[in-house]
Symmetry: C2
Subunit: 341 residues, 2 copies
């Protein structure tokens, strides 16, 4: 008897995908991606994604305010639509609640969801309420629209492409450390910045749309599982490999300080931490400079070159500052729901 | 401090709906209905619904096969699309699993989902996997299409309309009794029929589409919470009242036998039991005969007149066989996720 924890999250997704029949021609992108791309009777394509927040797995009820949890639930789904260059439109909220939960919790949760979905120009249009015995589960299904000629998938990376990422990496993981270990003696500024990055991450919606519009990006994902794991998703879908240069990772001073105090390597948080909700994308070397300039002018957001795509499907190699390969192969770490540790 | 169990499921939905801003013009039907109706760039409207199955609330893991649970999860969502006269198209499956669950459980679940969604002509196109600590939660988001000029809503019932329902009521509740009390000495035929009605209900998809196409139905819902409660949803949305005649309730001989053995009134199961997934609809008295004939000819499914719509918004009145009012007002029973009992 094999347990799902033996197979792992991505092993189980692969097993499910092999089990289901090939999708029909109206399914442009189906199982295995974060977002399904669907052909409707109109000119635009429909985007559909869902992502759940489970109590004691994704959050601890007394370490996040209901308002923050509401914001985060919307933000992580908006980030998936953003990574395709799409526009969020409608959300369905499926809420499974323990019966003894206070109504004020639900009020706070919806206030947060409303705030964040308003920022994305979308609306909550329905959902479902259920009871659970103990653990609260919020599942969100977010629908969006995209221009099919501009949509960005995981599968377009080409050998020789540079790998770019918006913003900085590792702040969210540092924020988690501070939420779990409030006694860590970081500065008040760093505490605020990092815990906000973890508790109310902001999806890169305008950035995703600008990157799709410019027509020069080859492949894109959001960084939710961690840079190394999400780079692996691009490599798998594109049939290529990637080299990530550790010394090029964009890491904030606040994150470096927190990592030092926590006794860990900040690069580890940047590579494996997850929940950054930055955009990770590839483009031809000759276009990278122009893309960086355009993105900063249009959105104020900087991006960094962190590596390059190689032709052999050798997975994701991490290259240390001395040029040594410090990790690699096809199984870099990152968030796996069913992983042992 | 008010608990969600004090407010009840529909109280909480009302509170959430008041909290959110008015939807924009692309949301034709929003919060408060089972299905959102959304305007896309095409000629058809998009339908979106979600419904979860929570372990130990909606099902007990050792009383339903994974295959049956998969079928039921799809069926209950198809039923919501059917009740609008729509066509299911794409499903997203959000699965929260305890890590020690066997992979064969997931295989069985997807086999059942695949079987049932194939019957509806739709496809699973994506989803999400998470871990839970103990309780398994399956949330399904189902998208569909409809012709906006034919769509059937809850809000169209008119005073004088007859109330009709497809098939029979109470079988699913009788099947639940048999699943929970296998020692009940019902006949093998009845045991099979009733437990199948509970464990693998069949949505009335062809019937819903035929009823929408005929253009003579005023309002429609599926019977998921129980006839009385779902009739209440039509009354609330239409601003009317309803009289249901107990003696007209369509109840199978197998259901009557099981109710007798269980020491309960079969009418109670038919009115309050829920999970029948029949279609409940209203039409002008002069059209009812023709609709019944058309439906039986096109789909083989019979339907029954069980009452009439009255002009005063007095809720749902149940009229006994002697003409006496045996229940009524605005709060008939039915399934409430947060109700005390």
């Amino acid at each position: 008897m094999m347990k799902v924890s033996d197979l792992g999250e991505f092993g189980l997704i692969g097993r499910i995908a092999r089990f289901l029949p090939s999708p029909s021609s109206d399914v442009l992108v189906g199982i295995g991606d974060d977002v399904a791309v669907l052909r409707t009777s109109g000119e635009e394509v429909l985007l559909a994604t869902c992502d759940a927040q489970v109590e004691n797995v994704h959050f601890i009820r007394d370490r996040i305010a209901p308002y923050q949890l509401g914001r985060k639930t919307i933000a992580i789904n908006v980030s998936d639509i953003a990574a395709m260059g799409g526009t969020p439109a409608w959300a369905l909220v499926s809420l499974a609640l323990p019966p003894d939960i206070d109504v004020s919790f639900v009020d706070g949760l919806y206030a947060g969801m409303q705030e964040q979905i308003g920022l994305a120009g979308a609306a909550i249009v329905g959902g479902n309420l259920s009871r659970t015995q103990s653990e609260l589960v919020i599942d969100l299904c977010l629908l969006g629209r995209a221009d099919p000629s501009r949509i960005l998938l995981r599968s377009g990376a080409r050998a020789g492409d540079l790998i770019l990422v918006t913003g900085v990496l590792g702040d969210s993981r540092a924020g988690l450390e501070i939420v779990l270990r409030p006694e860590l003696p970081v500065s008040e500024d760093a505490r605020k910045r990092l815990s906000e990055r973890h508790l109310t991450p902001q999806p890169r919606l305008a950035e995703g749309q600008a990157l799709a519009r410019c027509g020069k990006v080859h492949a894109m994902v959001d960084v939710s599982d961690g840079l190394a794991a999400d780079m692996g998703h691009i490599c798998d879908a594109s049939g290529v490999g990637a080299e990530i240069h550790e010394s090029e990772l964009p890491i904030s001073a606040a994150c470096r300080d927190a990592a030092l105090l926590a006794g860990v390597d900040a690069s580890h948080w940047a590579l494996q931490g997850g929940e950054d909700y930055e955009l990770l994308f590839t483009a031809a070397p000759g276009d990278a400079g122009e893309i960086r300039k355009m993105l900063e002018e249009e959105t104020g957001t900087r991006c960094s070159v962190v590596g390059k795509i190689v032709g052999e499907a050798t997975g994701v190699q991490i290259v240390g500052s001395g040029g040594e390969k410090i990790a690699g192969g096809s199984g870099p770490g990152g968030w796996d729901h069913f992983a042992g540790s």
